[in-house]
């Protein structure tokens, strides 16, 4: 399987993730199969060996995320893919990646939970798990595709962000987006930017694996490069050695936070449709965003104008954009395939004068445009 640069093809969402990863130069995948994410692994199992990349099926998801981090430290552009139960098993590893500042991409194709749930129907139940699933204060970058082409584009972006910010990046897809097939025109090779991690230029004896920089991200040596360094999940100093000194602990944790919060403009991405002109706005993400767009068209036919606001980056949440664009609205309708996760962010960021209305479905089926339309008709 090669990236069909510049061609138009009928492609599945998960397949587009594998192609995006290949376009991005992925050369290591470790995983454990779980529907609805397995196609990503299957496709990379076939294509990685052709380019001397490594594919390995591990004994479980804990081992998978661990192997991915080991590979990244040895210089690989590494990823894994999973779904709800496997995502839960990977949570400790995500925290290790945040703490030790190891770049890798984790794809979670969401299915209905909790537990084994409704295998393997759609849900959006992992939104908060993607943000807060691992313990302790930690950075999180989570991107959410809504189309097959975006599966490709956001996988490329996920790799670039993870290498730029030296942190795990989660691509939070869902079963509908993952298994859907769409006609996709792929970009030309030269249109896709691939960003590599910054590497150190300092003499080996001066190297600090966690050197503070204006960007809060330190250049990163890899094992075997001649820079010998220590990596630990213990809170560590600039060299990576364990510390309990308050100044060093504070510096480390503040930097982990600041590397995200000071560069929101590079991370936050939203799409809006008619938001400024509408007093009623639908806030939707992932596959539900597609229903929201269809609902907007159906409502327009009834002479009802609504806007659609979609976060492409779920975390960090677009706080500023939400306040700016939604705080003067009469109604914000929040359709989600869960019992209310991102709706609380809207409630947090808007005044009491804004009515925030949930439209929720948790039976493993997609929210239809009609369900969103009828919620809108009740308030318009």
């Amino acid at each position: 399987m090669r990236v069909p640069w510049g061609e138009t093809r009928l492609v599945q969402g998960n397949e587009a993730i594998a192609l995006g990863a290949l376009a991005s130069g992925v050369n290591f995948f470790a995983g454990y199969p779980i529907t609805p994410s397995t196609e990503v692994a299957e496709m990379l199992a076939r294509s990685l060996p052709q380019g001397d990349g490594a594919f390995i099926q591990m004994e479980d998801e804990i081992a998978s995320v661990s192997a991915v981090m080991g590979a990244s430290l040895a210089g690989a552009r590494a990823m894994t893919a999973t779904s709800g139960p496997g995502f839960s098993l990977m949570q400790e590893g995500i925290g290790f990646g945040c703490m030790a500042e190891i770049p890798f991409v984790l794809v979670d194709v969401m299915r209905a939970g909790p537990s084994t749930g409704l295998p393997t129907q759609v849900a959006q139940g992992d939104v908060m798990q993607a943000r807060w699933g691992t313990h302790g204060d930690h950075p999180a970058i989570v991107l959410c595709p809504a189309s097959v082409r975006e599966c490709f584009d956001l996988t490329v972006r996920a790799f670039n962000l993870s290498e730029t910010f030296r942190t795990p990046v989660i691509l939070l897809s869902d079963e509908v987006v993952g298994h859907m097939r769409e006609r996709v025109t792929f970009p030309k090779c030269e249109e896709v930017a691939v960003i590599e991690r910054p590497v150190p230029e300092t003499p080996t004896e001066w190297y600090e694996h966690y050197h503070p920089t204006p960007s809060n991200v330190s250049p990163m040596a890899t094992y075997g490069s001649g820079y010998r360094f220590h990596v630990t999940g213990l809170t560590h100093d600039r060299q990576g050695f364990p510390t309990r000194r308050r100044d060093e602990v504070d510096e480390k944790l503040a930097r982990l936070k600041a590397k995200i919060t000071r560069r929101l403009d590079e991370l936050v991405e939203i799409r809006t449709h008619d938001v400024e002109k509408s007093s009623v706005v639908i806030f939707a993400y992932g596959s539900v965003y597609r229903s929201a767009l269809a609902a907007q068209v159906q409502l327009a036919k009834k002479n009802k104008r609504v806007g659609v606001f979609r976060p492409v980056t779920l975390w960090p949440f677009p706080d500023m954009e939400t306040k700016e664009l939604l705080d003067d609205k009469d109604v914000v309708i929040v359709p989600e395939l869960n019992q209310g996760q991102l709706i609380h962010e809207i409630e947090r960021l808007t005044s009491d004068s804004v009515r925030v209305i949930p439209v929720q479905r948790v039976d493993g089926y997609e929210l239809t445009p009609e369900e969103i339309v009828s919620a809108a008709m009740e308030v318009m």
Partner: protein, 259 residues
């Protein structure tokens, strides 16, 4: 400080990380010494060695070594090590684990690493602290059954023998295991009234036999004794070499399709 430092210092982050965290009478430092002597005997370059550990007393070891070092999550040393080795098969990968790390929380990973036969030198420092909370089992028989190509057991009392076992394990192509019996006078020893460090070392001396001696003893005579030495040594294809071969065949097949 002597004018001439012992050669072991060459392999340690001597100025940075000492004194170490271990209790008086702990055996882990002796295992460190054996690792250094084995690496030195083999002439390995420090830049090529990746020393990986999980969580626990033994897993504190990497921070003191001047290698590429990786102190990971509880039980996951071999999973991280697998990623390192597969991403860069040229690296010499060593995993050090305690008995709980390797056999309880990480038991799944060690079985599957042995099944896979990926070239990682796995050193399990067994101080019985995990065995204290449920009946222990024969680590070496487990890993022999799982297909590890080299399985050996030593003790921190028999240091010269241990140096050799670790060196042999490092030379072995594939997943090699050395279980090192080691005293913990602070926890296991105290809780089980086994005396202090000296008494526990004497226990290793008197309570163990080497594999050749063991072969002459009946099962009754062997009961409760530690059997030392090389317990399994076989040849099997190594994972990264098999994988490189698979890549070569996949490339050939892909280029045939292109033609």
């Amino acid at each position: 400080m002597p004018a001439q430092l012992p050669y072991e210092y060459k392999y340690l982050r001597a100025k940075k990380k000492f004194p170490h965290v271990w209790c008086p009478g702990c055996g882990i430092g002796i295992v460190m010494g054996s690792i250094i002597r084995a690496v030195d005997a083999l002439g390995w370059n420090k830049n090529d060695i990746v020393l990986v550990s999980g969580i626990g007393c033994t897993s504190r070891m990497p921070v003191y070594f001047d290698f590429n070092t990786l102190h990971t999550m509880h039980g996951r040393a071999l999973a991280f090590a697998t990623g390192v080795k597969l991403a860069n098969p040229g690296l010499k990968v060593i995993a050090v684990m305690g008995d709980g790390d390797a056999l309880a929380i990480g038991g799944n990973h060690i079985i599957h690493s042995a099944r896979r036969n990926i070239e990682i030198t796995s050193i399990i420092v067994n101080n019985y602290n995990y065995g204290m909370i449920e009946p222990g089992f024969d680590t070496c028989r487990l890993l022999d059954a799982a297909g590890a190509v080299f399985v050996a057991r030593g003790t921190v009392y028999h240091v010269i023998e241990l140096d050799g076992l670790i060196r042999q394990a490092m030379e072995k192509k594939g997943l090699s295991v050395v279980e090192v019996m080691s005293p913990c006078p602070t926890n296991y020893g105290r809780a089980n009234r086994l005396g202090g460090a000296v008494e526990m070392m004497k226990g290793l001396r008197d309570g163990s036999v080497n594999a050749a001696q063991a072969a002459k003893l009946s099962p009754e005579e062997l009961k409760g004794r530690i059997v030392r030495g090389v317990l399994a040594d076989r040849e099997a294809p190594e994972y990264t070499e098999l994988y490189a071969d698979l890549c070569r065949r996949a490339r050939e097949k892909a280029s045939e399709v292109d033609e």
